[in-house]
């Protein structure tokens, strides 16, 4: 059984952390993952860096650029992660733009993930219909969940379609923005969270974009299964390195 499903089946709010592989240093990937699990994070999105991350804001973009300068590639990520399941139990998701995956070969990429024990992929620029028509079989035969995004602008009809194609959870983008763009939620967000919640979808939703601290985490997870922190965490890595992780995670869920 896929670790994502197992984790989401638990009766708790999920804290998921995004970070960019190979950042701040090329060899930090595994250490960051271990430190995150150690501090009680429920799930991790490992960012495969890309030269042109057009859905990302400046923080994640800069971390990608640095990771590429450090020498991060799909192959070296797989190399770094090859023994990860000897140490880490929580679900691991790779988040990356489509082109590097396409160049690696979608099938080969999925097989590598399966070998290593990756549980899912988030490919923001692989639209649901292309996935559905061309790649779903490959994912499923590799036991990989494909995590799809919805936004406040996604129509009800399309949400239902995405829900039907999704496995694991739906990545619910909190507002119309690139990563790290806004912080704090207003009535527009809570209305949106409520609206999706009321749709009673097959897949649980985890909220991403704009979550940076205890307050926004609580607000988001009030309506949904969990939340993902990206830019705010990258800033921690940038400023304090791996040593800053424990304190940051505690600040999000102080009562854990």
């Amino acid at each position: 059984m896929n670790r994502i499903k197992k984790t989401l089946d638990q009766d708790k709010k999920i804290l998921s952390i995004y970070f960019t592989a190979g950042f701040p240093q090329l060899e930090d990937t595994v250490s960051v993952i271990k430190e995150l699990e150690l501090n009680g994070v429920d799930m991790i999105e490992i960012g495969l860096p890309f030269s042109d991350p057009l859905a990302d804001g400046p923080t994640i973009q800069a971390s990608s650029t640095q990771a590429l300068v450090n020498g991060m590639t799909s192959s070296s990520l797989f190399e770094q992660l090859k023994d990860i399941r000897e140490h880490v139990k929580i679900p691991l998701v790779i988040m990356g733009y489509f082109n590097p995956i396409f160049q690696f070969g979608v099938e080969a990429f999925c097989k590598k993930c399966q070998e290593i024990g990756i549980d899912g992929l988030i490919i923001p620029d692989l639209p649901v219909d292309v996935y559905h028509q061309k790649y779903q079989k490959i994912f499923e035969s590799s036991g990989l969940y494909n995590i799809l995004l919805i936004t406040p602008q996604t129509s009800e009809e399309r949400i239902l379609y995405i829900d039907s194609v999704s496995k694991g959870f739906i990545y619910m983008v909190s507002s119309a923005s690139t990563t790290g763009a806004k912080s704090g939620f207003g009535k527009i967000q809570t209305d949106y969270f409520q609206r999706i919640s009321d749709m009673d979808l097959d897949n649980p939703q985890i909220v991403g974009f704009g979550i940076s601290n205890e307050e926004t985490f609580n607000m988001a997870t009030q309506y949904n299964k969990g939340a993902i922190i990206g830019s705010a965490f990258i800033k921690v890595l940038e400023n304090k390195g791996i040593n800053g992780i424990g304190e940051f995670i505690k600040s999000i869920r102080p009562n854990n």
Binding site: F50, L54, A55, T65, N99, Q103, Q153, S155, R158, T178
Partner: protein
């Protein structure tokens, strides 16, 4: 076999809409409506009227006598340089601003490389009284200063793109980010036949006025509606798409696409996508793309800001892969020489982008009876500094 777009937005294997979900509503709104809007008689009328009265169309088809004598073939120049704002780009921006109005958009964003598309966008926004933000790579801002000045005069806000190679690709990323952040009120006027479907097709249709006019003009001058060859430079590929459009499926007409070889195709400083590129995804479209083995997009190089793009539009990827068009790469130096040659033979200062097309006459022979139409995509006023420095004038 058709070389035009299919119903799903593909040219052969190329095209599609590889976009993040955040862009879906925008792109889908456009996809659903663009053909209907473009075919609406009131749209057609307004578009045609503006092209005529404001842009100055039809642009002449000029028989270049002295060049023809030098290269012993019949060379016609399609004078897009005479359009208002100085390049073919405005054909598209006129179309798209009318489209944006009909979609109820109140804010326009655009990316620009050479600045021609930025100027053309700022122009139509001023014309319609709509807010305009243009993203432009920091390096391009420096090397195309006159166009930056023009955009400011026209009331547009020019925002530098400081990531990556700081050129067109990065400006495009920034524009897409802006669009993601402003999904409701904003229309993104893409400047070439790139981006997610329906952009390549929509832009090609707006530019198709070029080949439509060539048919009539050639008929008037030579008694035939088709040339033996059409030559156009390819950055993203919009001027080529426009010049080729009505001849795409007529294989009697040779299509020649000219790319920038920079300091040499294999010098590491080049933008010759057809030679150096592989299939991949850039800016929402599956196409040929210069990239590392690992799928990172390569930073391209060309002396000309408008050709300094690591991909080509999906139409051109397909024209290349299918062999329908001949692709030729021209170095910086060859282009500059050809630009100067046109100045001194015909009294026309071409954009450096265009100079690449003109350089093919040194590379490739034509027979004396061949009618070769070169799409003179733009004028060189924006490039004077570069020319002057290059030739030490």
């Amino acid at each position: 076999m058709s070389y035009n777009v299919d119903k799903k937005g593909y040219y052969g294997e190329f095209g599609g809409a590889y976009i993040p979900e955040m862009l879906y509503p925008n792109v889908e709104e456009l996809r659903k409506n663009y053909l209907q809007i473009m075919n609406d008689p009131s749209f057609v009328k307004e578009f045609d009227q503006l092209l005529k009265d404001y842009v100055g169309r039809p642009s002449p088809l000029y028989f270049a006598k002295r060049m023809s004598e030098r290269y012993k073939t019949k060379i016609y120049l399609k004078r897009e340089d005479l359009n208002h704002t100085g390049a073919h780009k405005v054909n598209n921006t006129i179309g798209q601003i009318l489209m944006a109005q009909r979609l109820g958009k109140t804010r326009i964003i655009a990316e620009t490389g050479a600045g021609q598309h930025g100027v053309a966008t700022a122009t139509v926004c001023a014309l319609m009284g709509i807010e305009c933000i243009v993203y432009m790579g920091e390096i391009d801002i420096a090397r195309q200063a006159p166009n930056v000045a023009r955009m400011k005069m026209l009331g547009a806000k020019v925002i530098p793109a400081t990531s990556g190679s700081k050129t067109l690709k990065d400006a495009t990323n920034e524009a897409i980010r802006d669009w993601i952040n402003n999904p409701e009120n904003t229309h993104y006027i893409i400047g070439s036949v790139v981006g997610p479907h329906p952009y390549p097709d929509m832009v090609a249709r707006f530019q198709a006025v070029v080949s439509e006019e060539i048919q009539d003009q050639l008929n008037e001058k030579e008694g035939v509606t088709k040339p033996d060859f059409i030559v156009a430079c390819v950055g993203g590929g919009s001027n080529a798409a426009g010049a080729f459009y009505h001849y795409l499926d007529d294989t009697e007409v040779g299509l020649i696409a000219v790319e920038a070889a920079g300091k040499g195709i294999h010098s590491g400083e080049s933008a010759a996508t057809s030679v150096l590129g592989k299939m991949g995804i850039i800016h929402g479209s599956k196409t040929l793309l210069m990239q590392t083995g690992d799928g990172q997009i390569t930073e391209p190089y060309s002396i000309s800001a408008g050709l300094d793009y690591p991909g080509v539009g999906p139409m051109h990827a397909h024209l290349y892969q299918s062999g329908r068009a001949e692709f030729i790469s021209i170095t910086d130096d060859e282009a500059m020489e050809a630009g100067l040659e046109l100045c001194q033979l015909e009294g026309i200062i071409p954009a450096i982008e265009t100079s690449h097309s003109l350089a093919i006459f040194k590379e490739r022979k034509f027979s004396p009876d061949d009618i070769v139409v070169v799409n003179l995509s733009g004028r060189g006023d924006k490039d004077l500094d570069t020319y002057i420095k290059h030739f030490n004038l």
